[in-house]
Symmetry: C2
Subunit: 344 residues, 2 copies
């Protein structure tokens, strides 16, 4: 392999597994003629699914790496590290560790992916806890939200590191000099929130590398008033999933009404077509692909319920992170930017 | 006053103040001929706004109670309790304490409303901490989410009490025998979340009055898979506001695209009309009115950014709570239902 972009793809994660992954890979190779892919999973199954796509011309740039071990949704992270290094996920991460590829994409078990990433790739020097973050749509562009669930209890010092890593990640998506950083809280006033959030505010305020914009509330993630929103993994997970839930609800409500009004059925169909188009602008599929920040390599987690379209979007995110050398940038930022992070 | 339904309305809260409250009151009185309202705020201002509505026939059922003191958004809860009992908010709560009305509606400062409610009405015997909760739209009906921000740090015992109060509140909205109760968490698996959430799960499981459905994630609030979702105030606030943020974003994105595609402008207009209709099904205005549970009286908090339509919806929520004697039901449930709540 000698081309510029090489990605490792774990074919065996998510609700649809290779049935969403394989068509996404074919589309990706068609879109990016310089890309090469390594696809990890059971060889026979993947070869058959690839043949169904009828694109033999792409086979030169798509290498199937056969591995029969699979990590299920039920597998716990410790088991994954101890016994599942030869799984499609483990082998894909090993390819990244060995420098064969520039990024890994998986829609598998999040906990296992995090644990295996830490174990196989290692944590960047100085990083206390890696975090999961994602760029979300706003009224004016995008906003990077982290942590999305890698860490439940976070100290103010952890949140400060998340801010530093989040700034680097958002630079991949937003072409802006001064990225405004905020802490997710229950209100904008300084006395609001938990002690850790208030203490984090003091650390953010004192850090010369952070343009700190204060506390924001849940709705502010989507207004575009700030570029990076920092919180612990429980809060970030609930914020992102609540937003996703309401988008799904709106789609569902739309169909219900359309069926009920026969008079408007014709225009309703056209309207629904437009509505779908609008929805793709904000729906999870379009903004799919969370980055695992703080490990030595670009690891992209696709949504577990990802369609082929959504998995393709996660691959685009992986390409952007690889092109920007995100893991390298995070490493340099953590070691050089503003001196060591204060210890607790 | 001798009619069946009497509400006290604080005219001075929210971004629009009496300009959204007064038209909502007029509409409410027209819709419910048996209702009577007490409207608290500066007499001259309210009288003038009422005259602009040109409904002198309603004046018999709408009593303006003049009070010039106003609680601003900046006022802190302790100041409110010490110095602002004669404010429109304080006087409205006093009318409820004195039995003159069956519920209070306010779109004012949430912290002050909670503190004044506890001080003027008192807390129901056995309730450790009152909570703020709200019925939200789902694919199959509604789901009651609490706490929405009255309490930041909550113990497992607090969450158990929230569950008991939430069940009573959701009974007002849903006509169902067995209400399914869940805990908001980062995942459905038993080992997920903080220690307090896992400990709360044990208490819920052991409580014969709770049909415990396990952990749910943010998106499950909107699927209708459960009827009551319990969490601490920080998590609930972020869940609700993130969902509201994304709804606003969808509306905004729709307009942006419509302007960009002149060819589809005609259908775009129709689509936007339908989209607006769909949005009202899920938007905050329609589900406006959070109940403050655990105090001796029905106190309804309207959204601070409430339009007249939204404030009217909060008044409907107040009517439903008054009709169902929600505060009384919560009181009976807390004292009788399943014995005393375990102490920490």
């Amino acid at each position: 392999m000698s081309s510029q972009l090489r990605l490792a793809v774990d074919a065996m994660g998510g609700d649809l597994g290779p049935r969403s992954v394989v068509p996404a890979c074919v589309r990706f190779l068609q879109r990016f003629p310089e890309a090469e892919l390594k696809l990890f999973g059971p060889r026979d199954l993947l070869t058959r699914l690839l043949e169904e796509q009828h694109k033999p011309s792409l086979s030169r740039r798509l290498q199937v790496v056969g591995c029969d071990q699979v990590i299920t949704q039920q597998c716990n992270p410790i088991q994954a590290v101890r016994r599942k290094r030869d799984s499609s996920m483990g082998r894909a991460l090993q390819a990244l560790a060995d420098g064969e590829v520039q990024a890994v994409v998986s829609s598998g078990n999040t906990g296992a992916l995090l644990a295996l990433s830490r174990s196989i790739l290692g944590t960047i020097d100085g990083v206390r806890r890696p975090a999961l973050g994602k760029s979300l749509p706003t009224e004016r562009g995008s906003c990077f939200l982290l942590d999305l669930g890698a860490n439940i209890d976070c100290s103010a010092e952890d949140l400060l590191q998340f801010a530093r890593m989040g700034i680097e990640a958002q630079r991949v998506h937003a072409n802006k000099c001064e990225l405004q950083v905020a802490l997710l809280n229950i209100g904008a006033e300084a006395h609001k929130g938990t002690e850790e959030i208030r203490r984090a505010a003091e650390l953010f305020e004192a850090d010369p590398g952070i343009h700190y914009a204060g506390f924001v509330e849940g709705h502010d993630i989507f207004t575009g008033c700030v570029d990076v929103v920092v919180c612990d993994g429980l809060l970030g997970n609930v914020a992102m999933k609540s937003a996703e839930g309401v988008i799904r609800l709106m789609g569902q409500k739309a169909f219900t009404i359309e069926k009920k009004t026969p008079f408007k059925r014709f225009f309703g169909q056209l309207a629904i077509k437009l509505l779908r188009k609008w929805r793709t602008q904000v729906e999870p599929a379009r903004y799919n692909g969370a980055s695992f920040l703080g490990v030595k390599g670009n690891v992209i987690k696709s949504h577990g319920g990802a369609s082929s379209e959504a998995f393709y979007r996660a691959m685009i995110t992986a390409k952007e992170c690889a092109d920007a050398d995100l893991a390298g940038r995070v490493g340099r930022a953590m070691s050089e930017m503003h001196g060591p992070v204060p210890h607790q």
